[in-house]
């Protein structure tokens, strides 16, 4: 087994050196966590947005000094926490991560929110970084991190694209015990679909928007999606953020129905996008938006909204009934419509004409004061209307029509006095008597049910008491013998630190192996990429081969036959590994148990086997065969 271990270590070393010239690995490492802390140690006020109050040079210096004054132990620990959080998120959500330190720090997908607290709950936000996201996010001044040391706990949550709608994970850090715990944040879907509602009076689509954090419910009013129609296959979508006056910014994304984000941008108070091939590719538009209130410095995050493009007209729920097209194009190149006054409930109406995909061609207000009313719309405006058979009028046309004289308003006959009818009263009395009888019967049943309920409840309470008692006793016994997971982790960390400190250079090999284990266990699988450099004739500009990256893993995956062979190879390697590991464990197990027999054997037997050195847990597994002989020999002498 020693040979197996040595073989594995040789493999590690060979692969490490083999990678010197050719392998690229983009995975995050512990060093990335350290670089974040290094960034925090070297920040200037320019690294934070000027809109964050209190971020003067003085405050930034204090904030920076805090991280510089951290002990090496705290530094390593905080760095590891950053790394662990990023690693967890990257693994779980399959994010491609890269970090660029040349320009301060650029975590392409991450924004960190840092919270502190002196108790386990009740954190408050002290800031976020990097700078580019701080431009749109509300933050308490980062200077509060100066007080970090006075707090026992730190919580760091991370998100993508700066939207709290997509909080990913959070890490709870206990500085005192040097422990942390990664938690998955309860979040809504990244693209929640919320149906818009229609205001029947104004015919405006109200899309409910609300913040995730503060709970302020606000509304983004969809003031009519239709806008200018540039070409048949193009459509501009405009959403005006008119109802949130204090919100000066609105940003968002238009996402196709398969979740693919098409456009991401921001504007002042209007959300305008041009969508190509709307008829073929899009049936719905998802909009994710957030607004920044500069006065109160709060960020309003809104969940993604859905607007079903082709269904917009049907939401209006009006019909052509009651409206008669009087003529085709007249001499003035206008269409004339006649509204049946008899079916109008109001004396005035607003008309709007729509066609195609949510486009208003024309609108206006007419006052109706005659038996019938005509209104005209330019023929050019109605060209598409007639083609698509859509004419939408905000006209109430629900009154019944006299079939003989449809243009005449219906005549309402006056009500005639009715003769008294006591039949109903007698029936009411009979019904009341029946109800009384039923009540009496129900009361009897109710008493029995109450008694049954009383005993059932009493029995349940007794049962619950004993259940709780047993649970409490079991929990107590379990807690008595099994240490808490967090405590065990902190003990391991503390013991490791103590051993390293006490053993000095003798303890370094142990640290080496522990680091090696952590390195192997913490890395996520990555593609094997060979970076082929430029190959050129020395002293000339002639290039035989241009530099390129060769992704071996992807190539293997893309060729089915090779992929099958590779997968089979991995299965075989895994099988051999498992077999060797089980053999190793079995040898270890037998060596430990066999050592007891060897120690208990007569001294002369041990002399024969030359294994009279003490054998404990750390005994050499390779000596197992010798020890086993000793045991057999001893049994043979009996």
């Amino acid at each position: 087994m020693k040979k197996c271990l040595v073989l594995f270590l040789i493999l590690i070393i060979v692969f490490s050196f083999g990678s010197v010239f050719a392998v690229e690995n983009n995975q995050l490492t512990k060093e990335d966590g350290k670089k974040i802390v290094e960034f925090l140690k070297t920040t200037t006020s320019e690294d934070y947005t000027s809109s964050v109050s209190g971020m003067s040079d003085t405050n930034v210096n204090k904030y920076r000094d805090y991280f510089n004054a951290m002990t090496e132990k705290d530094y390593e620990f905080i760095a590891e926490c950053f790394y662990k959080l990023m690693e967890s998120v990257a693994t779980k959500y399959k994010l491609t991560l890269s970090m660029n330190y040349e320009n301060s720090i650029n975590l392409n997908n991450f924004v960190f929110f840092i919270y502190v607290s002196s108790v386990e709950e009740g954190y408050f936000n002290i800031g976020c970084f990097p700078n580019k996201m701080c431009d749109v996010l509300d933050n308490a001044p980062l200077r509060y991190i100066l007080y970090l040391k006075s707090y026992k706990y730190i919580k760091i949550s991370t998100t993508v694209n700066g939207s709290s709608a997509s909080y990913l994970d959070m890490i709870r850090i206990n500085i005192e015990n040097q422990t942390y715990k990664i938690e998955e944040l309860k979040q809504t879907s990244l693209y929640p679909k919320i149906e818009p509602t229609i205001d029947e009076e104004t015919n405006i689509i109200n899309i409910p928007l609300f913040t995730f954090s503060s709970g302020n419910i606000k509304y983004l009013i969809h003031n009519g999606a239709p806008t200018s129609h540039t070409e048949d296959e193009y459509q501009n979508l405009v959403i005006k953020n008119s109802n949130i006056l204090e919100d000066k910014k609105i940003s968002g994304a238009v996402v196709s129905d398969n979740g693919e984000k098409i456009i991401y941008s921001s504007d002042t108070d209007t959300f305008t996008y041009s969508i190509e091939n709307i008829e073929n590719d899009l049936t719905q538009i998802f909009i994710e938006a957030y607004g920044y209130d500069s006065s109160s410095k709060t960020l309003n995050n809104y969940p993604t909204e859905t607007i079903t493009l082709n269904d917009y007209l049907s939401l209006r729920n009006h019909s052509l009934s009651g409206i008669v097209m009087e003529s085709d194009l007249d001499e003035n190149n206008e269409y004339n419509f006649k509204v049946n006054y008899a079916r109008l409930t109001n004396t005035s109406y607003i008309y709007r004409v729509c066609s195609g995909f949510n486009r208003f061609n024309s609108d206006g207000i007419n006052v109706v004061n005659s038996a019938s009313e005509y209104f005209s719309i330019a023929g050019s405006d109605l060209h598409d209307v007639l083609k698509d058979n859509y004419v939408i009028l905000d006209v109430d046309v629900n009154k019944p029509v006299d079939p003989d004289n449809p243009d005449k308003p219906p005549v309402v006959e006056p009500d005639e006095p009715e003769t008294p009818d006591y039949t109903g009263a007698i029936e009411d009395v009979g019904n009341k008597i029946d109800e009384l009888g039923n009540k009496v019967e129900e009361t009897g049943k109710g008493i029995i049910a109450s008694i049954r309920e009383f005993f059932t409840e009493m029995f349940n309470n007794i049962l619950e008491f004993f259940t709780n008692l047993v649970d409490t006793i079991l929990d107590g016994i379990i807690n008595l013998f099994i240490p808490d997971e967090e405590m065990l982790k902190s003990w391991v960390t503390k013991t490791q630190n103590d051993i390293e400190a006490s053993f000095g250079m003798l303890g370094y090999p142990m640290s080496f192996f522990v680091d090696l284990m952590n390195e192997l266990a913490s890395t996520t699988p990555s593609d094997l990429i060979f970076k082929i450099p430029d190959i050129s004739l020395p002293g000339s500009d002639i290039n035989f081969v241009n530099a390129f990256d060769f992704n071996v893993s992807e190539t293997v995956r893309n060729i089915p036959a090779v992929n099958l062979i590779y997968q089979t190879y991995i299965v075989i390697v895994s099988g051999i590994s498992v077999y060797m590991f089980l053999s190793y464990l079995w040898s270890l197990f037998e060596a430990m148990l066999g050592s007891k027999d060897v120690e208990a054997a007569p001294y002369d037997v041990l002399v024969e086997t030359e294994t009279n050195k003490p054998i404990g847990f750390g005994a050499d597994v390779g000596n197992y065969s010798v020890k086993r002989k000793a045991r057999i020999h001893r049994k043979g002498t009996r």
Binding site: I12, F15, F17, G504, Y508
Partner: protein, 90 residues
């Protein structure tokens, strides 16, 4: 509680005993050399993953963990046996 208490006692006793021994730290140059080795190892993990697969990698971690604990145990007892006042022969 019981296991926690025992672990604390063991840790305290070992820390006290080994705290008395003046063992120097590892030279910085050697530590730096090993760090650079780790950098090489880290950059080569793609190759490692490709040829060994996740199962073998996980099992190597387990073997390393067991062997590390075994050698820590051996080292502790090696040093304890060298302390005359404790009079531990085996």
């Amino acid at each position: 509680m019981i296991i926690t208490g025992l672990l604390s006692v063991v840790t305290t006793v070992l820390s006290f005993i080994f705290g008395l021994l003046p063992i120097p730290d590892m030279p910085e140059s050697l530590v730096a050399a090993m760090d650079s080795f780790f950098e090489l190892l880290r950059s080569g993990l793609g190759l490692f993953d490709f040829f060994l697969g996740p199962v073998a990698k996980l099992l190597i971690v387990y073997v390393l963990a067991i062997e590390t604990v075994r050698h820590i145990w051996d080292l502790i007892w090696f040093i304890i046996r060298k302390i005359p006042i404790l009079n531990i022969k085996e």
